[in-house]
């Protein structure tokens, strides 16, 4: 089954509820972005501030602060030398001795509180020093590279390879006993792990363009290391530090418990050592060792909580509530059934009813409305969108990013995830109601009936499986054919997209980007779907490769006869390839017509602006205005048919005045 899942993930179209649809990259850019703070930037919520808002962090910090306070206040709470004998030996907790006494008659409470001083001090000192060494070594190795990196990495690896505990024991045994020795020993054994983690992180940051940009600006090495790279490592440095502190406290206790530290110092470790020496366990004097043991466990727990909170804050995905069933909700909260959409007649003049292209449309979308429900506000991603795609037809959906075109595609495949919710409308595939499909039907609907190719799909092939195995999996899983038969068909499929059969044994990295994209397209059409949805399938590719892929799709279409929903922002490409197309803006259709008509006679000002955003290859070089940042339309009405098959949203003429006016209005708001 895992094999199946990897293949389906590679296609982007997740087959079922079991595996998470691989959509975020494709979904988010097109999701309506939260309003940009054009002019009013919000101060960034600081890392520390968001950390303190985190419950785990607050609890962790609270526990640590409590222990810190107890340690600091120990001389006030239990004055005097804690090792002084204050009572008779091995007494159970009582009013006089809240935590009882040791075998010698020392007060356990006093020992525990005073012990916190040494244990916490050593832990945090080790954490600080080892992290500092680790950061310096990691940064230097990553930034300077070459010989510096070789030498530093070698040293780091040697220290990592040295067996930790024996080294601790040997070092502790040879160095003069004392608290300082333990600290030195722990720093020596603790820094290498930190250095290795931080080096690999620094290496990845060093490769970023902003480091190159700082170099070009003329910044020096020190500045780049500490002011450009280091701030981006803050959270990992922090969690490394916390990890080393845990290591420090634990190891100190361990060493001292073994008697390798200075047993005259009062710490949690020596408390345990004495408890064990005095045979507390054997006489059942649990109070002698439990408090110190618990303290170590609690501090480690608090540090781990804090560490986890750091992860959560830096990686917000961990914080997102479990996936709500992405879904189909009626405004009232129930599931949309087909009847709801039929009842909605507000947009009766939609082009859906007037295509005349094919008697039974493959896909019929009516009044589709998708909302992104945020905590504070709801954004409409698609607003009463209606269209049909006939048998074998290529329907294009154009618009800038954020206009809702990908939202529509994902809604058709039912790939939307919370917070996106389909609130109204219907999607019918060959007469079947897609929105009402149960899970098992949906699984076969995706891929077998409708397949989807994403922009980044070529990067989603499984890198450790051969192309042949990945394609064959499609057949063995969905058609239940034998392995050899599946491989034979996989070879046919490759030949169909003009890749040699011998490439079945190739791994994805051995193919060029264009070839990989063709493999993905081949897999998408492997089960002969009747509709192929392509979401910016060539945007990441060169023009030459793009042209080849497009020619390839045209060939496949001729051969297999599927319909295509083609999404792109490239108007030229779209007009060249589509039969009919629609232009989308702000979740609404603003124009819909045969592609040739749009080219010859674009009616809506937005359509014209979009076409004007691409310089021509021929003709005079005139300055284009394209889509200025501020061009915005609001309250786009329902499409009206101006001539047969050409639907346009109502707009005022002359367009340019209206544009400027709208822009001015926006600016003054």
């Amino acid at each position: 089954m895992s094999v199946t899942e990897s293949t389906s993930a590679s296609l982007g179209a997740a087959p079922g509820a079991g595996s998470r649809p691989k959509v975020p990259r494709d979904l988010t850019p097109d999701a309506p972005a939260p309003a940009r703070p054009s002019g009013r930037p919000t101060p960034r919520r600081g890392f520390l501030r968001s950390l303190l808002r985190n419950r785990k962090a607050t609890l962790g910090v609270g526990i640590l602060l409590l222990f810190g306070a107890l340690a600091l206040l120990a001389p006030l709470l239990v004055p005097g030398d804690p090792t002084v004998i204050t009572g008779s030996g091995s007494q159970a907790p009582s009013a006089a001795h809240l935590l009882g006494t040791t075998a010698k008659g020392q007060d356990v409470l006093a020992l525990t509180l005073w012990g916190a001083r040494s244990s916490l001090a050593v832990g945090f000192l080790v954490g600080l020093a080892a992290t500092l060494v680790g950061v310096t070594v990691g940064l230097a190795a990553a930034y300077f590279g070459k010989v510096t990196d070789d030498v530093l990495s070698l040293v780091t690896n040697v220290f990592l390879l040295l067996p930790g505990l024996p080294l601790l024991v040997v070092l502790a045994a040879f160095l003069p006993p004392g608290a300082g020795t333990v600290v030195v020993v722990l720093i020596v054994t603790g820094w290498a792990g930190a250095a290795r983690v931080l080096r690999s992180l620094a290496l990845s940051i060093r490769a970023k363009d902003f480091v190159a940009a700082a170099t070009v600006t003329g910044e020096g090495s020190g500045w780049i290391m500490f002011r450009e790279i280091l701030p981006n490592m803050a959270s990992i440095v922090m969690s490394t530090f916390l990890g080393v502190v845990i290591f420090g406290i634990g190891s100190q206790a361990g060493l001292e418990f073994l008697g390798l530290g200075d047993v005259s110092v009062v710490s949690w470790g020596t408390n345990l050592y004495w408890a064990s020496n005095d045979g507390a366990l054997m006489v059942g004097a649990w109070w002698a060792f439990l408090p110190s043991g618990l303290c170590i466990a609690l501090v480690a727990f608090a540090l781990s909580l804090l560490n986890y909170a750091v992860d959560e804050v830096t990686n917000p995905r961990l914080r997102v509530p479990r996936r709500r069933r992405a879904g189909v909700h009626a405004p009232g909260g129930g599931t949309v059934v087909s009847g709801v959409a039929d009842a909605a007649t507000s947009n009766a003049t939609s082009p859906a009813s007037a295509t005349g292209h094919s008697p039974t449309p493959v896909l019929e979308v009516r009044d589709l409305t998708v909302e992104y429900r945020g905590e504070n506000r709801t954004v409409v991603g698609a607003d009463r969108v209606s269209f049909t795609i006939g048998e074998g037809e290529v329907f294009g959906l154009a618009g800038e990013s954020g206009c809702g075109k990908s939202t529509v595609a994902h809604a058709i495949m039912r790939l939307l995830r919370a917070p996106a919710v389909i609130t109204d409308g219907s999607v019918r595939f060959c007469g079947r109601d897609v929105l009402a499909m149960p899970d098992d039907e949906l699984r076969s609907f995706r891929w077998r009936d409708v397949a989807m190719v994403f922009q980044s799909a070529m990067n989603s092939l499984n890198p450790v499986m051969t192309i042949g195995d990945q394609i064959a999996d499609v057949y063995t899983t969905h058609e239940r054919v034998s392995r050899s038969e599946a491989l034979r068909r996989a070879g046919d499929l490759l030949e169909l997209v003009k890749i040699e059969r011998s490439r079945l044994r190739a791994y994805p990295h051995q193919l060029s980007g264009g070839m990989r994209q063709r493999v993905v397209i081949a897999m998408a059409v492997a089960l002969r779907p009747r509709l192929l949805i392509m979401d910016e399938p060539t945007t990441a590719l060169d023009v030459v490769v793009q042209q080849e892929i497009m020619a390839q799709i045209a060939d496949l279409r001729r051969e297999l006869g599927f319909a295509v929903l083609f999404i792109t922002h490239d108007m030229s490409l779209m007009i060249e390839l589509s039969d009919r197309m629609a232009v989308m803006y702000g979740g609404r259709f603003v124009e819909s017509a045969p592609a040739a008509t749009i080219l010859a006679e674009p009616r809506h000002p937005y359509t014209r602006a979009l076409m004007n955003a691409f310089p021509p290859l021929t003709g005079p070089r005139t300055e284009l205005r394209g889509l200025a940042d501020g061009v915005r339309f609001t309250d786009i009405g329902d499409l009206v048919e101006v001539v047969g098959g050409h639907w346009v949203a109502p707009h005022d003429e002359p367009d340019d005045d209206r544009h400027d006016q709208l822009r001015d209005e926006e600016a003054s708001e």
Binding site: A212, A213, G218, Q547, S572, L573, E576, L617
Partner: protein, 353 residues
């Protein structure tokens, strides 16, 4: 406008006349090591590039990904060390003068704008930081008041709201970020800006705006731009001259509109034919283009390599017209064969016959 801007304009006025190159690249070679410890090899990314960028012009560098366009920019920006060749900026042989690391004075002349505005601005800093650092490092702002004035001037130049100074990159749109990146490059008042696909990661709605901004920098400030792109239409739109690269070599170079109206090298023609443009009638024949590509891109199948000349003997640059060169054995100036070089099917059949 400040005195510095006037200077820049003056500079543009005086030097645009002579059309002298501000960047001169000769025989630039760059090898990258490939393979592991045992099978260490070399990949030649640039095979001896000659390229000039004149003062106050936009030179476009086009070609498919992997053709070496960005490597040229990174070599000129001194982010990569060329294997061999010379690089002159303002007549100074910089690889000889500053062999290890570029001086700050060099950085003040040559700036770069990166492809990905999401990656080229450090997420840890505010917009103000990027601009202030560039101004302060290069002594363009010595007092608090000049700094403030220069900052607002920069934002005005790139059409950004002044309030955005306090914004972090993640609060900006792609177009706004790229404007910040351009403002950072402008802050040091450079003579040359290397723009590495500055619009390819941006949404269609803001691309033209960035292109127009680059045009304005050339026209109003006389800044020279090396504009790297795979978008031929954009190159034609803003570039005075265009250089076409293929597999680490310059295959054709000339005035943009003329070159795109009548490409002389088969690869240029291939590139052009792949650009979707519904206004061109009758050019979309996938079969023909696929054949052309297969032949041009395969070293042994190039219809003009039948005599093996490309393999044995590197082609030289022929002059098509003054300022327009093409690197192909088959090209003979003003000869019929030049036309035939483009007619692949004809040539191919002639050879098989």
């Amino acid at each position: 406008m400040s005195a510095t801007t006037d200077n820049a304009r003056e500079r543009a006025g005086t030097v645009a006349a002579d059309g002298a190159p501000v960047v001169e690249i000769r025989g630039l070679v760059k090898d990258f090591p490939v393979g592991g410890l045992l099978s260490r090899g070399r990949f030649r990314a640039l095979g001896g590039i000659d390229l000039d960028v004149r003062r106050g012009e936009i030179m476009a560098l086009v070609g498919e990904s992997g053709s070496g366009k960005s490597t040229i920019a990174r070599c000129v920006a001194r982010l990569e060390q060329p294997t061999s060749g010379t690089l002159r900026v303002d007549g100074v042989d910089v690889l000889a003068a500053e062999p290890r690391r570029a001086s700050r004075a060099y950085r003040a002349k040559v700036q770069m704008v990166f492809q990905d505005p999401f990656g080229s601005l450090n997420p840890a800093h505010r917009v103000e930081h990027f601009l202030t650092r560039a101004l302060v490092l290069h002594g363009r702002a010595t007092s608090a008041s000049t700094l403030k004035r220069r900052l607002t001037e920069l934002l005005d130049t790139v059409d950004l709201d002044h309030a955005l100074l306090d914004a972090y990159p993640h609060e900006l749109s792609g177009g706004q970020r790229q404007r910040v990146a351009i403002a950072r490059a402008l802050a040091v008042e450079p003579e040359v800006i290397l723009a590495d696909e500055p619009t390819s990661m941006l949404d269609v709605s803001v691309r033209i705006g960035i292109l127009n901004l680059m045009r304005r920098l050339r026209d109003e400030r006389g800044i020279s731009l090396l504009y790297i792109t795979h978008d031929l239409a954009a190159a034609r739109y803003i570039a005075d001259r265009t250089t076409v690269m293929f597999a680490g070599e310059v295959v054709e170079a000339g005035e943009s509109t003329a070159l795109m109206a009548g490409p002389a090298h088969p690869y240029t023609r291939l590139l052009l034919s792949a650009v979707p443009d519904p206004r061109r009638a009758g050019t979309f024949d996938p079969a023909e283009r696929a054949a052309l590509r297969a032949q041009v891109l395969g070293a042994t199948t190039c219809p003009y390599a039948a005599d093996g000349r490309c393999r044995d003997d590197a082609p030289v640059h022929h002059v098509v017209e003054p300022g327009w060169t093409v690197r192909c054995h088959r090209y003979r100036p003003h000869a019929e064969v030049a036309r035939r070089a483009l007619d692949v099917s004809g040539t191919a059949t002639a050879q098989t016959a």
